[in-house]
Symmetry: D3
Subunit: 68 residues, 6 copies
């Protein structure tokens, strides 16, 4: 599948925490940690586990810009 | 200002393209290009220009995870 | 690529309208029209054209529920 | 109330799972299951129950497009 | 229609600017201006005009919290 | 930090409810209650507590418009 989302950052999963319905997955992208909040079902379906290679995917309209 | 958004990736602006109402800002984050779609007004207010340091900011609930 | 987004609805593209930076793509999903607002770049990269088969993909946290 | 969100897909609720704060509601839209992640409060306020008719509502800027 | 989105702020429209595909609508909510970026089609369908009463509607998962 | 998000509404926190992974923070904005769904980690990092001054921050593309 090829998706329109502009941003796909490759990294390694460093943490998977499941809640009752919502899970948090943390991916190390070249030293920066990206946190993703997804459903527990998605974690199970994709078999997401610490140490696996994964991509953080973000639609361009969900990216804000900040300056110091 | 300190914000709840979990993801702040520091980089350098490599492109600013303004449309009629919506602008696209591209930030080089350690070699990966992140595309942000924001209002023209935000570009003006923050004075975003190619070469400036900036952060791509994303709420955790807007980050998906993908695998190959 | 396999993505965590829970919702993938298959259909046929019925309209592609490009703006200056933002495009609108309409997909017929079994008789219902779904409108997507994405970047012009995504339209070009995926080669989206009227008549093509495509999926509308939505993260579960972006779906609201309404009743009459 | 009439809302600007472009996408309203009518269906029947097939599952309501409440977490500690976040609920998952699944709606059958002509055979496709759409998953929505909303607050428990919204589920209570709207009285969402399996078998009820409901709409999945999505803003156009939250719809991505994918191809095989 | 009753919607799950937790946030509905009532105000008066103070500006409507249409782009090629994307419009910006500004609503005065008790003295604070809220900016909304929606499709031109939604502006037309709802007949949004300066001076009209309108609501800014936001899903809870799209609201961040910041402190000084 | 200065952020591109167009909407920053100042108020007072009236409720903080933590779930297993996701928290709900309610802010009184001049009499209207705004509900935010964020990670527990963000609540801890920002030290969000009832009675504190805080801002509800929303990207313009996440604001819908509704009429009666």
């Amino acid at each position: 599948m090829k998706i329109s989302a502009r941003n796909r950052l490759k990294g390694k999963i460093v943490e998977v925490v499941k809640g009752t319905t919502t899970a948090h997955v943390r991916i190390d992208i070249g030293g920066s940690i990206v946190t993703s909040s997804i459903t527990n079902e998605a974690v199970d379906e994709l078999g997401l586990k610490v140490g696996n290679t994964a991509y953080a995917v973000v639609k361009a309209s969900d990216v804000m810009v900040a300056i110091d």
